[in-house]
C-alpha cells in the first residue's frame, strides 16, 4: 500500500494508518536527522517531533503523492531551527582540523569498524556549512532528485546544485587533509 493510500485512509478516519507511515519512515527520517545534526540523541528527538508535526498537519497536505518531500521538508525545518538554538561552542572538529586531522596516520577506510567509520564521516559532514550539508545528505544518503531537494528546501534548483558542488569539493579537501583513503572499500 502506497503512502498516498495510507494518507487517504487516515483522512477517512482510520487513524491507525498513520502508524504504518511512521513505521515505514522512522528509520530514514532518523538517519537524515542524524547526518544533519551529528548527534544521535538529538536525531531521535527531531525524528519524533517531525512525526508529531506531520500528524497535526496531515490534513493540509494537498497532494498525498508528495508525502515524502513534505515529510523531509518538516524534518529539515525542525533540524535547521534546532541547530540555530543550539548553544554555540567550538567543536572538537575545528580543533582537529586546525591540527591537520584527527590523527597523523593514513586512514584506511577498509580497516575501520562501522562505528569508527560512521564517526569519521559524521565529523567530516559537520565541518560543512549547514546549507551545504543538508543538500549533501539529501542527495548522497536520501537519494533525492535535484528537483525534489529544491522542493524540500524551497530553493532554486541551480542553487541546490551549486551548494552540492561546493559541499562535495569541501569534503574532498577534508578527506585529503585527514589522509582518508578509500582503498579497501
Amino acid at each position: 500500500m502506497s503512502d498516498a493510500d495510507l494518507i487517504l485512509r487516515f483522512r477517512a478516519g482510520q487513524h491507525q494508518a498513520f502508524n504504518t507511515l511512521v513505521w515505514r519512515w522512522q528509520g530514514r527520517l532518523y538517519r537524515f536527522a542524524l547526518r544533519y545534526s551529528g548527534d544521535s540523541e538529538e536525531a531521535r528527538d527531531l525524528c519524533q517531533q517531525s512525526f508529531i508535526r506531520a500528524y497535526g498537519q496531515l490534513h493540509r497536505l494537498r497532494d498525498p503523492e508528495r508525502f515524502s518531500t513534505w515529510l523531509y521538508q518538516i524534518a529539515a525545518n525542525l533540524c535547521r531551527d534546532h541547530l540555530r538554538q543550539r548553544v554555540q561552542h567550538v567543536s572538537l572538529d575545528a580543533y582537529e582540523e586546525a591540527s591537520g586531522g584527527p590523527h597523523p596516520v593514513l586512514y584506511q577506510v577498509g580497516d575501520m569498524d562501522k562505528v569508527e567509520l560512521r564517526d569519521l564521516l559524521n565529523r567530516a559532514l559537520q565541518t560543512l556549512p549547514e546549507e551545504q550539508r543538508v543538500v549533501v545528505v539529501l542527495k548522497e544518503y536520501e537519494r533525492l532528485k535535484f528537483r525534489e531537494i529544491a522542493e524540500v528546501l524551497d530553493a532554486p534548483i541551480n542553487t541546490v546544485k551549486s551548494r552540492l558542488y561546493y559541499g562535495l569539493k569541501a569534503l574532498r579537501k577534508t578527506f585529503n587533509q585527514w589522509d582518508i583513503d578509500r582503498d579497501g572499500l
Binding site: H15, F51, L185
Partner: protein, 202 residues
Amino acid sequence: MDCNVKKEDLLTFFYGECEEGEQERIKEHVATCATCRRELDALASTQALLRAWPDETPRLDLTFVEAEVPRRRFPLIAGLAAAAVATVVLFLAWPEFELSYRAGELDLKWGEALADEPLSREEVLATQESTLASVNQLLRASEVRQQRVLDHLLRDIQAQRYRDLQLINRQFEQFDREIYVRLRRNEAPVLELLPATRYTNP
C-alpha cells in the same frame, strides 16, 4: 573548470539527471576533456567514501495512540451515576474524613478520631521509600545534565588551550626570526673587517 561546461551541468550528468539529449552531449565532451574527467573522478571518489557510512536501523518504536472516548448510551442514567460518584468522591476528599477496609471490616473515621489515629509503621516506611525514590530520580537527572554541561565546557577549554599554544609557538618562531635577522645585521660589519685585519697584522 577550464572548459565551457558548467559545474551544475557536470553534476547533473554525474547523477544521471540530464534532460534528453544533454546526457549524450556531455558524455561526448567528457571523452575529450581531461579537466571534466578529473572532476568526475574526484566526485566519484568522494561519493564512494560518503556512501561507505553504514546504515543503521534505530530502535525507535514510535507509535501514535489515540484514546477513544466511550459513547454514552443512556445519558440520563449515566448522568445520575456520575452525580452519585461525584458526591462520594467529594465526600471522600473531605480532609477530615477517611473510609478504609481492613481485616474484612469497613472502617469510617472523621474529625478528631482521624486526627488521633497514628499511621502504621508500614505506611510510614512506604511513604519514605517512595519519597526517597523520587528524590533519587531527580538527583540522577540533575547529575546527567551537569555532566553534559561539564563535557561541553571541557571541550571548549581544550580547544582554547590548543589555540593559545599555537599562538605562543607562532610568536616564538617570529621572535627567533627577528633575532636571527638582527644578528646577521650585526655580524655583517665584523665579517667585512676581518679580511682587512688579517692583512694588516704583521
